[in-house]
Structure formats: C-alpha cells, structure tokens
Symmetry: C2
Subunit: 312 residues, 2 copies
C-alpha cells in the first residue's frame, strides 16, 4: 500500500458508513435508472457488451489505437495495446483545477495523476493525440449531472478546461496475466465491473465524493499473487483496497455494477477490489461541479507510456 | 523507482546539462557566498554543525519535539523521534498554490506531498502543532531571494500562505540502520549534506528549478541494500536518483554542499544521492517567487505519522 491515506480510508472502522445519495440519471435522451450506469442497455456508446477484442488490438501501438477511436470505434479498451499505459480522463474548468489536483493528492490510490494539460489544451506530453477525439467514449457533466455520452467532444471542449490523466488498473492486467492470474473480463471481452462504494474520499475544498472501485474475481490460491503483482504498480492504483465481502464497502449486489459489465464470481474465487480512476467523476457528480468532461468508464486514453514505467 | 518522470530526468542523456545560474545571496545582514549556503559559517541557526543528538531525542514523541523547538531549540532533526515521519515545509501565496502542487506532481520523487493546509492555516491534519513556531528553523524568501533565517515566523505568516508538507529522506534512515547500512551524518551528529544538481525539474507554469539531492556515502557491499530499503519508501523520495560520480549530476565538490554539512566519503564507499525536499525552495529561488517561507534545510517538521505509513 503505497500511501497512508488511501489505505487508512479503507481499513479504518466506519461506524458512520452509509451509501451516499448518488445522483440518479434523469437526463433527457438517456435511459433511466441503474441500467444506464452499467452500460448494459441503451447508452449509445456502451452497446458492445460482448465486444471481443480481436487479437490484434493487443498488438496495436497507442498512436494506431487513437487513430481508430478518432475514426469512430466505440469500445472498452481493456486488452488493447498490451504493454502501454491506459488512463482515465477528467477535464474541469480552470477555476477548479487546484481543488481537483488537491483531491487527487489527498486520494492518491484512487486518483494517481499521470499527466496534466494546460487550460484549453487537448494534448499532454504523455498523450500526444487529441484528447477531444482520440478516446473511444466520453461523458459530459453539467452541474454534476451526466448529460450526454459522446464519441467526440470537440464542440464541448471549453477554452478553460484543464485535462487530468489519472492512472488506470488496466495498466497492470498484463502483469497479472503473466503471473498466472486470470482476468475474467478480458476472457469475456467485456468492460471491467466498477462500483460506487460507501467509502468517502478525503475532501478538497468543494470536492468530495465516494471511492469507486473496479472488481476482478481471483481464485483463492492466487489472491496473494494478485495483491503482490498489482502492488508493484502504485501509480496505477497498486494493491487492492479490499478483498472479499462486497457489503463491507457498501456494495449491495456484485451483479449490478455502477459502471461497466458484471462478471461471475465462481466458487473458490474471491472478489478483489481496486481503487478506480472513475472516482473523480463520482466527485464531480457528488459535488455538483458546473461543467466537466470525463472518459466513458472503461473507454480509456491510451498513452505513449509503458506499463513498466509505473512498476516499482 | 515509483514514478516515470523523476527517473527519466536523471537517467536520460543530458547533452545540454549545465549548472543553472543559482542566485548568490547578497542580502543585508547575511554572510556572503557559498559558505552561507552550507551553514558552516555565519547563519544564526546553522551554528550547530557538531551538534550531537542526545540519545533521548530519538525517543521523543513528535509533540514533545515540537514543544522543544517552540521553546527555542535550533538544531537539525536527523535522528530525532525515531519511527516518526519528518517533512519539508514550503509555504507560498495562495495564487501560486496550483503551480506549486503541479510542480510537486510533475516531480514526485523530489516533491512527494504528504499534506497541504488551507490558505493562512498553520496546522494540517498530519501536523497538529503550529507550523510558524514548531520547526527548529525557517528560511524566508522575497522575490526568490533568501532574506532571513528565523526561529519563529508568526510575524511573517501571511493570511494567504498555503503550507505544503513534503516528504523527507530522514524518514527511511531508521530502516537503513536496521538493515545494517551506516548513516554517517547520524554517526557524526551533523546535518545531511545537500547539493543543487544540474538536473532540471519539470516546470509547472512559472515554477522551475534544479533538482536538489541529499547524499549518504554507503560501502560498496551495501549499495544494493540501501537502494532496496529506501525504494520501499516511495512517498519520502524512495530509491536514490543517482549513485557514484557526483560530476554526472553537476556536483563539483562533495566537500562543499549547498546546504547542510559535508561528510567524508571513504575508500570503498560510493556516494548515493537521493532526491531532496529542498527542491521546492530551489524552485522558489530560481523562479523569483514573490514571497515564501521554507524550513531551514535539515530542520524539519516532525509529523504525527509513522515512517511505516509510507512503506510499500
């Protein structure tokens, strides 16, 4: 566990623990209720639940993958560009940039900042493509409410937006596989399941919200290996924040993820939960941020950086 | 090496490498030239070159140590409060807080942020004392120039100052000792030697400057152990950024540190250089920051946090 706060948040007793009132989506033109979050129905850019990455997408260069997304491919990026780092996007108005950076600093296991752009910029040193077009999906927020899922945000990219690229646990999945730890959503060719927990993040000024986690079921005999291998990647969420009982972190039903697709947890397997870079989007919602653009969960920015760059 | 940039900075070829023009101190009331930086002469709060920590200072609680500094004790803190985390202080005007936080983010091995205060605040969650009185020494900057070394900055603590607490390599010295790695400045009871290198940090807006390092001579047979042990503490500078030839990172003379006290490098020993939390003060100087307060190098803030909290 690389940092003090993130682990403290999860490990301490939480007698006050309760699931925060999470905004329900009631936006015109988008489907209602939980199904929308999961992407299992309706959302125009989450249709590919049973998308199977073709073998060759693992071998693509980041530049080539970005080109395909720019050309219109709308798919989760798990398994793409093996060996290259994937990142979460959150772009907020310049006036909020200090609070967002501080929020990330105070919650480093969930929000490891890999790169930051200038106000209005749509590329960064690690992402030399176009942040407005080169991800396979975006989510637009107004006043903390997700109002649209888009494939291109050139029109929405305000001059005052500051883009932050946040580490993603997809980065250590190749290392898990290499260590013999199976990754079910890769086997299934689906998006990773993500859940909003009842673990509060440390607040930074007006920004607060719950920790979001991703889940991978791991055979009991391989739990220690999975912890050890992912723990070597502290800049992309590191070791799990929780293993076992989902209820202990406020997750009522593993079959109903808040984002992404459900996967089966089989007999003899333990659900492992890793801090997730969708956490800033949960903070945007919980804090009613005026305007923000995130990636569509699971539809990541693929960076010109190697997974190995983030291994300790 | 936990982060990509910090290691890349040090390891890449630097054909353009040159020692940046570092401001010379010509402030009224302070001695001239390099001797001032080293603290070997003149600076009113660096007299204690041959200060030997009494055995019992290692056993003090952070609260008790802060009390002694508040009462007027002016000493480097290496060896104090064994098992408790020490931190660098840099307080800048609120208008610069985003740039400073981004600078830290972009140079995480040198500037790991452990805690941040509100504007005007003089305590933080991890430092429940008074940041204006409870360190054993301060350095005041105006327009990028160090203008005074002080033992109390209550008068100088402006309402708009935002205090940042940055990790310190003193934090892993107990672990080095426990692993059998000798730490010479602890044996001598002196301050650690620190050097301004010719390795440029990544700039953040108006803030830029050279990397500062601390140096510990280590017997050749123990270099790997020292790297391994300190590498487990990525939030307090982690593994060395350089081993061996000081000239490779722009250090002309190990006997003349820019801050702290020199120590002998004996036959069979290798100088190991760790990124140092004085780096933000070097950036304050190099960037001509209007107003800032730092700790006096080596005279740290002692936190209510355990060394073990920062071990991966």
């Amino acid at each position: 566990m690389p940092t003090r706060r993130a682990s403290a948040q999860v490990n301490r007793a939480r007698p006050q623990a309760r699931r925060p009132a999470f905004p329900q989506v009631r936006s015109p033109g988008l489907p209602q209720g939980n199904a929308w979050w999961t992407g299992r129905q309706g959302s125009p850019y989450c249709r590919s639940v049973h998308y199977s990455p073709r073998g060759n997408v693992a071998d693509l260069s980041p530049a080539r993958a970005r080109e395909r997304f720019r050309a219109g491919e709308r798919v989760p990026t798990a398994g793409w560009c093996r060996g290259w780092t994937q990142a979460n996007l959150i772009a907020v108005p310049s006036g909020l940039r200090y609070e967002l950076l501080l929020f990330a600093q105070l919650n480093p296991q969930a929000c490891p900042v890999l790169d930051v752009g200038e106000p209005g910029a749509w590329s960064t040193p690690l992402f030399p493509g176009d942040l407005r077009t080169d991800l396979p999906g975006y989510r637009l927020y107004r006043d903390g409410r997700p109002v649209a899922d888009l494939g291109d945000v050139r029109e929405e990219w305000r001059d005052d937006l500051v883009p932050f690229l946040i580490g993603c646990s997809f980065t250590f999945e190749a290392a898990l596989l290499a260590a013999g730890v199976p990754v079910r959503h890769l086997e299934l060719g689906t998006n990773v399941p993500m859940y909003v927990t009842d673990v509060p993040c440390s607040a930074a000024g007006s920004l607060s919200g719950p920790l979001v986690v991703s889940m991978r079921p791991v055979p009991e005999a391989l739990v220690a290996t999975a912890v050890e291998v992912s723990g070597r990647y502290p800049m992309v969420h590191g070791a799990p924040v929780h293993t076992g009982d989902p209820a202990a972190i406020g997750i009522a039903d593993l079959a109903r993820p808040d984002f992404g697709d459900p996967v089966e947890v089989r007999a003899g397997e333990v659900p492992l939960f890793w801090a997730c870079g969708v956490t800033p989007q949960a903070a945007v919602m919980a804090s009613g941020v005026e305007y923000a653009i995130g990636h569509l969960p699971g539809h990541m920015a693929i960076l010109d950086a190697r997974d190995d760059d983030y291994r300790v």
